[in-house]
């Protein structure tokens, strides 16, 4: 076991796989010489060479589409989008070609696209988004959102192993702030399985990514009120662990869905609708959602604070639910 930051865990996973399997290669803007905008691939080109750590032109469609072609030829490409926000440039390729190839013609597309996502550091509208809900809507893709270093490593390895296109949302704000124990050996975390981050009896919070920590802080405050909060970290948004969520709802009968992405059409809506549909008779309160408001991500810290769900927001929401 080693104590690694979230970022180090991601690097560790990538390095482990590249050492183990020659088919794995990395391609993206500034990933080679520069080591990646966030230094996830620092030292990689020295170790693996320029043809396995490829500095791509500023051309997301070519990057992601190129990965698809290479994957069809037996490689296991891992593309890095410099910011998750730029995935919109390759959106067409992902949903038109990559997502549909297996279903249409039987050809699997085992690619991974790493997406540094999320806000909290004045990144502004184009460097702070959480675009998972756009892709959660596309059959054929998978979307994972680890919150802990341990999950970050295991899920990236699973993503590389998975024969489907996997979008890997790594939350930038967790990169260096979060440390955790990470097994040194190679291991996988199953895609599609949630994790109980915190056990509780009175209210359930369903969340993922950086919001897991926001929820946790809020839960600690609620504990002092005598309210026991359970936190379910989805870890995968598509396919999401419905069974785990329903089980928790059956236990507590009160649920708050929390995500950093904006509210309308955010993935929380799917979760809330499913809970209402399948666990109606287990509900002791309406299903609540807390999410960012329906605006682009603002730049100025004052505004960003009003945009991102804060601990106080979650505390208030939980208190409201608990007292219902």
């Amino acid at each position: 076991m080693a104590e690694l930051t979230y970022l180090q865990a991601i690097s560790d996973a990538l390095r482990t796989e590249m050492r183990r399997d020659k088919r794995v290669f990395v391609i993206g803007e500034d990933v080679g010489v520069y080591g990646g905008a966030f230094k996830v691939t620092l030292g990689f080109q020295e170790e693996f060479g320029a043809w396995r750590v490829i500095d791509a032109p500023l051309a997301e469609t070519a990057i992601v589409g190129g990965c698809t072609g290479a994957a069809m030829m037996g490689m296991r490409p891992v593309a890095e989008m410099q910011f998750a926000d730029f995935i919109s440039c390759a959106w067409d390729h992902l949903i038109t070609v990559a997502a549909k190839q297996r279903w249409r013609v039987g050809t699997p597309v085992p690619i991974v696209v790493r997406l540094p996502s999320g806000g909290g550091f004045s990144g502004g509208p184009f460097h702070s988004q959480n675009p998972e809900s756009s892709f959660a809507h596309v059959p054929g893709l998978k979307c994972v959102c680890p919150a802990t270093p341990e999950d970050a490593k295991g899920l990236l390895i699973s993503a590389i192993e998975d024969p489907n296109p996997v979008l890997y949302f790594e939350h930038k704000h967790l990169y260096r702030r979060i440390k955790g124990e990470v097994p040194e050996e190679r291991y996988t975390i199953p895609i599609g399985k949630a994790r109980t981050h915190r056990e509780g009896d009175d209210v359930t919070v369903v969340t993922w990514g950086a919001m897991v920590y926001t929820a946790d802080e809020a839960a600690q405050q609620l504990e002092a009120d005598g309210v026991s909060v359970e936190i379910v970290d989805l870890r995968t948004v598509l396919p999401w662990d419905k069974a785990a969520v329903i089980e928790s709802v059956r236990k507590t009968s009160k649920v708050l869905v929390l995500h950093e992405d904006t509210r309308t059409g955010g993935f929380g809506a799917e979760i809330a609708a499913t809970i209402a549909e399948e666990a109606f008779e287990d509900l002791d309160a309406p299903v609540k959602r807390i999410a960012a408001p329906d605006t682009p991500v603002p730049f100025s810290p004052e505004l960003e604070k009003a945009f991102l769900p804060q601990v106080e927001d979650v505390v208030a929401g939980l208190r409201d639910l608990a007292g219902y």
Binding site: G226, S253, F280, E281, D282, L283, D284, R319, A322, Y324
Partner: protein, 498 residues
């Protein structure tokens, strides 16, 4: 049959408490022409005899109910075809509202407690005289009641709002959420509340009961249950509960804890006890409780029962209890008195074509009460009734009742007489309109007419029957009339009757 185009002539309601009317005379025959407003038939009701004017002009195409038949208010009596407009006026004919006031309004009855004190309570019963009395303008119960009927209140309005999970748990356990103390917003029952309630009830029921069932006396049955009626969260209480307060952390009792004075002992009320207390109070607050009583000479039944007993036991494995006989007689009579089997819902009166008979069952040392329901009791004969009662009683005691078993009761029979009491005034199980009490069979000196037509004293087994009824719906006269047939049936029970 012919097309239905035509105007219905229906039995009018001559006064609020009138539930039925009898056709005394048709003034027109089938095929005859009648003008709108022209008298069409004569009827007789509890309150008044009157003519019914035709709602339309046209031909009497069909007469549906014959002279001499008594039908419920609203029953179609005839069809008038080829009518020309004439929106029927309510035969709210004459100024015949009610003579409600004539009877004593319900006095607050002392809540009946189980077996204990059977005070020879004063009968706050109305004298029976049917009809006459000058009509007085009724207090309109029909007014836009502040009572919101169904529809759950806009927001969480206290007790009346039941969340899905609470509704489900209530249904699964046969608990009426209305009886559960609530700590949620606005006093609503939360999941925790109902689970606690059930748990404490289960602890109470843990010590299971003795008496399987029938003994020569009536099954030990107790009074006034906190019945589990339909799980549907229809507000029973016309008044709104106190508005919700902003969410506070769920704290149980806000009231300051009572203190024991010297010589006193304090024990906490169990959740079940609290539930019972709440329901009793609410029932008395809701219904206008009045009790009428009548005595029954059970000698015939005693004899028949003795004859049937061994046959029933050996062939059917069931005891033909006195309760079965009484239930049979009562259910049959209910068919003729729908209001006694009815319900006030908002400002509507609900009547049914069926009787779901609640049988109050006491559980273990007065720790619990439950009222399982025999559904469609009107379709049961004596044997069927005996079986059904035995079955629900047994299952009640062994905690094997299903949610359906405790829901939907329309009338209840209770027996406080198992301990020897000869009279009582049970509390009505909401939202029903009445509850029949049966009491100890007591040998009394009784005046009978001998074969020479002379009055002599005989020793007869006499049982008192009470009907506690909601005077909002059932008047004393009606109650009195209802109470006549059952004793008659019991007193003339034939060997071949069933």
């Amino acid at each position: 049959m012919a097309t239905d185009t035509g105007v219905d002539v229906v039995m009018p309601q001559m006064g609020v408490s009138v539930s039925e009317g009898t056709i005394t005379k048709w003034l027109k025959r089938e095929g005859e022409h009648v003008e709108a407003d022209e008298p069409l038939l004569e009827i007789s009701t509890d309150k008044v005899d009157t003519e019914v004017p035709s709602p339309a002009s046209g031909t009497v195409t069909r007469i549906l109910v014959q002279e001499g038949t008594t039908v419920d208010v609203g029953t179609p009596l005839a069809l008038i075809g080829d009518s020309l407009a004439a929106p029927a006026d309510e035969p709210t004919a004459p100024p015949e509202p009610e003579q409600a006031a004539a009877e004593q309004p319900a006095e607050p009855e002392p809540p009946v407690s189980p077996p204990a004190s059977a005070e020879p309570v004063q009968e706050a019963v109305a004298p029976p005289p049917p009809s006459p009395a000058p009509p007085e303008p009724e207090l309109p119960p029909v007014s836009p009641a502040p009572a919101e009927p169904t529809a759950a209140p806009e927001s969480v309005n206290g007790k009346t709002f039941v969340s899905p999970v609470v509704a489900r748990i209530a249904s699964e356990h046969g608990v009426d959420p209305q009886t559960v103390p609530g700590t949620g917003r606005g006093g609503r029952v939360t999941k925790r509340d109902i689970l606690d309630f059930i748990e404490s009830g289960e602890r109470a029921l843990a010590a299971v009961p003795e008496t399987p069932a029938p003994s020569p006396t009536l099954p030990p049955v107790s009074v006034t249950p906190p019945p589990a009626s339909t799980a549907a969260p229809t507000p029973r209480v016309p008044q709104a509960a106190p508005p919700s307060s902003p969410a506070a952390p769920p704290a149980p009792s806000p009231a300051p804890a009572p203190v024991a004075a010297g010589g006193e002992t304090l024990e906490p009320m169990s959740a079940m006890r609290r539930g019972i207390a709440e329901h009793m109070r609410r029932s008395l607050d809701t219904s206008a409780h009045v009790t009428s009583a009548i005595e029954v000479d059970m000698s015939k039944v005693v004899g028949i029962r003795a004859k049937l007993k061994s046959e029933y036991q050996s062939t059917y494995g069931v005891n033909p209890t006195y309760l079965a006989f009484i239930a049979r007689a009562a259910v049959t009579t209910l068919g003729e008195y729908p209001y006694v089997n009815g319900e006030i819902r908002g400002d509507m009166i609900v009547t049914r074509g069926y009787v779901n008979l609640g049988i109050a069952v006491e559980l273990a040392d007065g720790k619990g009460l439950i009222v399982p329901v025999v559904r469609n009791a009107e379709g049961l004969n004596l044997l069927g009734m005996a079986r059904a009662i035995a079955d629900v009683a047994a299952r009640a005691r062994s905690k094997q009742l299903t949610p359906d078993d405790v829901a939907g009761g329309t009338f209840t029979i209770t027996n406080p007489g198992g301990y020897g009491t000869f009279h009582g005034t049970p509390v009505i199980s909401q939202p029903q309109a009445a509850i029949l009490g049966t009491y100890a069979l007591v040998k009394r000196p009784w005046v009978v007419t001998d074969e020479l037509g002379e009055d002599v004293i005989a020793i007869r087994p006499i049982m008192n029957l009470t009907l506690t009824y909601d005077h909002r719906l059932v008047d004393g006269a009606l109650a009195g009339r209802f109470l006549r047939p059952p004793p008659e049936r019991l007193q003339t029970w034939g060997e071949t009757d069933y």
